[in-house]
């Protein structure tokens, strides 16, 4: 039986892991390769590296970070943040990424999804959607959550799938960094609308939040950052808990 994936996300700036609350107030969390190794030992299923500055200078630092992480772990590795064009994606893949995550560029240039899916396969292309509740829908934001994209998350997820995305990484901006739980309604709305895996992100605070998002939220995978970085909740502890609640996980 296919297990539910637990994914650790590392927001990286200048080669160091940082994590903010609702996209701001960055705190320092350490060396990416060392953190990845710790996660691997604890039983993490996958690792995401997000370049949160994505400036030209940080590009080369990012390649070094990806390479360092990729040499430390033999797990699927996704890289996102500032991937604007095919060359950015190929640089990430050449450095050791298995998947790239597109966010702003996917919306401003949707054919890029198809281009990368043709070149690397759909399994290598994740479309990341940052969204917050608005009325009965879920409004998509781009540029690190600063700009209203005037799209609904459900409709955009469907289009991303049709263009060749292999997975959707859905982040609740309302919940991000708050540790108040995933937005299960939003996750379920997107998961029910597409036939590709949906990774839920934003709001993980305790063990039960993961149970909720895998059941009510219909998520295929759940991603968290700060809850794992600061040793509040170990990956092993989380998996043991999910296992006792009859959620299939890789032990």
């Amino acid at each position: 039986m296919l297990t539910k994936r637990i994914i650790a996300c590392m927001d990286v700036r200048d080669g160091q892991v940082v994590k903010g609350v609702q996209f701001q107030q960055l705190r320092h969390a350490g060396d990416p390769a060392a953190l990845a190794q710790r996660y691997n030992v604890e039983g993490i299923d996958e690792v995401v590296v997000l370049d949160i500055t994505a400036t030209l200078e940080s590009r080369q630092a990012l390649a070094r970070t990806i390479s360092a992480v990729a040499h430390q772990i033999f797990l699927p590795l996704t890289v996102g943040g500032g991937i604007r064009k095919e060359d950015d994606a190929s640089a990430a893949v050449d450095a050791g990424a298995d998947k790239v995550s597109l966010n702003t560029a996917a919306l401003s240039n949707p054919p890029l999804i198809t281009t990368l899916a043709r070149r690397y396969g759909s399994q290598a292309v994740i479309v990341a959607i940052d969204a917050k509740r608005r009325g009965n829908g879920f409004a998509v934001y781009v540029r690190s959550g600063t700009s209203d994209a005037a799209r609904d998350a459900v409709e955009w997820a469907r289009e991303a799938e049709s263009r060749g995305a292999g997975e959707i990484l859905l982040t609740s901006m309302d919940r991000d960094g708050t540790r108040s739980g995933f937005d299960c309604d939003m996750t379920a709305a997107v998961a029910n609308a597409v036939n590709i895996p949906v990774i839920a992100s934003g709001g993980a605070g305790d063990l039960e939040h993961f149970y909720d998002v895998f059941t009510h939220g219909r998520a295929d995978a759940a991603l968290a950052a700060s809850i794992f970085h600061y040793d509040d909740t170990g990956v092993g502890e989380l998996k043991k808990y999910l296992n006792t609640r009859n959620i299939p996980v890789r032990m």
């Binding site: 039986m1 296919l2 297990t3 539910k4 994936r5 691997n40 299923d45 990729a70 040499h71 772990i73 033999f74 797990l75 699927p76 893949v93 050449d94 450095a95 050791g96 298995d98 690397y120 396969g121 759909s122 399994q123 290598a124 292999g166 997975e167 036939n195 590709i196 895996p197 219909r218 295929d220 995978a221 890789r250 032990m251």
Partner: protein, 221 residues
Amino acid sequence: MIALIDYGAGNLTSVRKALTALGADFATPGRPEECARFSAVIVPGVGNFAATSALVGPWRDTIAETVRRGTPLLGICLGMQWLFEGSDEAPEVPGLGVLEGRVTRLRGNPDAGLKIPHVGWNALNFHGQPHLSGPRSRMLAGLEDGAHVYFTHSYAAPVTDACVAATTHGDTFAAVVERGNVFGVQFHPEKSSDAGLQIIRNFLEVARNPSAAPPHVEAEC
């Protein structure tokens, strides 16, 4: 020395990294004629079966010849699918055809949460099908029934007598195949943490000692 075949289907960085970490001696031959000097062959690959059209012709002929000589061959993901006769994903492209059967699309079942592509960690089952012989398999030495490995694919090979471990995602399909010195894994051992590295280590052992081939798996079932 192991030949790692690069035919442009996906990125070989991860496979190279895993082989390097395990101390394997390997190289990427630029031309099919160079294959003769290698003691084992790995055909990796991810993506559409159509990508294997790059192997049609001299590469296919050469690899088929190395198989006939008993040189160990490992197909990974798309490379495993290529060992079969062909795939519904690209019906016009012939596979290597050293294993019988065709690769077909997984059906899935969205209502039951069985999405396609099949992405993530799933279990290798050594039992439950008449042909499965995980415990006797050289590829699965040191692994336990139910070990989890990382898959990402939409098409899969049938469970035939070459299958030594199966996986179920709606349909049950061949996760590991083994016949003589021909091996294939549908998942990505280079992305499957300790279990995956053990499988690559097992292939490296076969590459060092191919004469250890057990009697034909078929005959024992």
